[in-house]
């Protein structure tokens, strides 16, 4: 008799193999794994939502009704608004769902308007105001690079004012400064994007290796053979496509 644990381990491994089979080409097993994933993910989201409702509303109302009805009765308002979300399925009363969306949008936007001006703008500007002269040449050079790339990036994203030079005319000093900052900004962002891209690659490869280690350990030789087989399969797939 196969136990549920063993069946679970097989299903677990099968899910990984079926999903990885997409690296070769789309197939029925990948599609099956994909649909299983979507079904469980949707079910899991609903379960999390129920858990959240239980913790915030149902459990306090059932376990300590006295406290709930004196201090937390207003939670019935979002419950009513949440129920109104189902009105979106009605052709006639779809607009009722807007009341719940309105509260969510407004609170989200209000909270963002409280934190973003300080965190995204004021702190970024103050962090860029750096000493450009001093006794430590390395620090000074780093500060120059930081300030120039930041100003360059801001110049690159400046779409309102765009200095131009008339055909045949000599470029003005303003234009030259603008153009220099513009290119410093582009090159600076290329460095940033290169670093971002490298980190993304590292993260994905890290996930791949961790999956590989979880399902193919403890036999090291088995892992090596599996890796070689996978590489051969991928190369064969590419050659066949050509």
């Amino acid at each position: 008799m196969i136990s549920w644990d063993v069946l679970g381990a097989w299903l677990c491994a099968a899910m990984v193999v079926w999903i990885y089979s997409f690296a070769y080409r789309d197939n029925a097993l990948y599609k099956l794994a994909e649909h299983m994933f979507v079904g469980t993910a949707a079910g899991y989201s609903i379960a999390l939502a129920l858990d959240s409702l239980n913790r915030v509303v149902v459990s306090p109302a059932v376990r300590s009704p006295g406290t709930f009805w004196t201090t937390s009765w207003h939670y019935l308002v979002p419950v009513a608004l949440g129920i109104l979300l189902f009105a979106k399925y009605s052709r006639k009363y779809y607009w009722l769902a807007r009341y719940a969306v309105a509260v969510n949008i407004a609170v989200g936007s209000g909270l963002a308007l409280r934190t973003v001006p300080i965190a995204n703008i004021v702190r970024q500007i103050t962090a860029t105001i750096l000493p450009l002269w001093g006794s430590d040449p390395v620090k000074v050079l780093n500060n120059w690079i930081l300030v120039l790339i930041t100003l360059g990036g801001l110049t690159y994203f400046l779409f309102t004012i765009f200095p131009r030079v008339a055909e045949g005319a000599r470029p003005s000093p303003t234009y030259r400064v603008y153009r220099s900052l513009y290119y410093i900004g582009i090159y600076g962002m290329m460095v940033g994007f290169g670093a971002l891209f490298a980190n993304t690659i590292m993260t994905r490869v890290g996930f791949l290796i961790s999956i590989y280690l979880i399902y193919i350990q403890p036999e090291a030789w088995a892992a090596t053979v599996a890796a070689i087989l996978a590489a051969i399969a991928i190369i064969l797939g590419i050659l066949r496509k050509r």
Partner: protein, 229 residues
């Protein structure tokens, strides 16, 4: 009247909530008002959690409806796959509801919605491995994208390639074996040019959020309402 209820009242709710959350955060009027604001602020955050929970349920129902429609539209080619999705979705919800029931009927058992045994079995053996595999399979697409991005066609692409190589070698042990300077160079790239490069983007995103808030406040942003009146 109906247009007022359908359009203007929700927009007024948006404006009032934005004004109240922002004004009392930035301006201090009195201790009592500040105290009331803090209480109301926490209550509003809880309201959002409750409404979001209902939104997640609506999303699950949307997936169910979508797959039922696909079975009707596409027939036997799609039916087995969509049936699997629907069956697993329903099973997960049924197990979750059973766990919810048990948490009240038999609290001593310590079973809750997300700790119901069958629910956990599906989560651990279907959802968790599939989630990790789907995320990691992107490495193959990243490999193809890297090839396209790193083809040296101009000085900018060369800079992108050199930076990426330094960061990759700086992050791995083999990089340190090839040249010990990779690690400090990677650290310098991450602290100086990388920080500077993303600073304008952060400032731009901040300005975007402020503009979106102002557009919502002044009723210029109406895409959240869905259908047009």
């Amino acid at each position: 009247m109906s247009l007022v209820l359908r359009k203007y009242v929700p927009q007024t709710i948006v404006s009032i909530i934005i004004v109240l959350t922002v004004v009392f955060y930035y301006f201090y009027v009195s201790k009592e008002i500040a105290g009331t604001f803090t209480t109301a602020d926490k209550a509003l955050s809880d309201w959002v959690v409750i409404i979001m929970s209902f939104a997640l349920i609506v999303g699950g129902i949307d997936i169910l409806r979508f797959h039922l429609a696909r079975i009707r539209r596409e027939g036997m080619g799609q039916a087995p796959f969509s049936t699997v999705t629907i069956a697993l979705l329903v099973l997960m919800v049924v197990f979750a509801l059973h766990g919810w029931y048990l948490s009240y009927a038999d609290p001593a058992a310590g079973i809750a919605i997300t700790t119901q045994p069958q629910f956990r079995w599906l989560y651990l053996n279907v959802y968790a491995p599939a989630d990790a595999a789907v995320y990691s399979i992107l490495v193959f697409y990243i490999a193809s994208a890297s090839y396209r991005a790193f083809r040296v066609r101009n000085p900018m692409a060369l800079l992108l390639l050199i930076t990426a190589l330094i960061v990759v070698f700086g992050n791995t042990t083999i990089g340190g074996l090839i040249w010990p300077g990779f690690l400090p160079l990677r650290d310098w790239i991450m602290t100086v040019p990388n920080t500077a490069a993303f600073r304008p983007i952060t400032i731009g995103a901040g300005l975007g959020v402020i503009i979106l808030g102002l557009r919502l406040l002044t009723w210029r942003e109406i895409s959240w309402m869905g259908r047009r009146e």
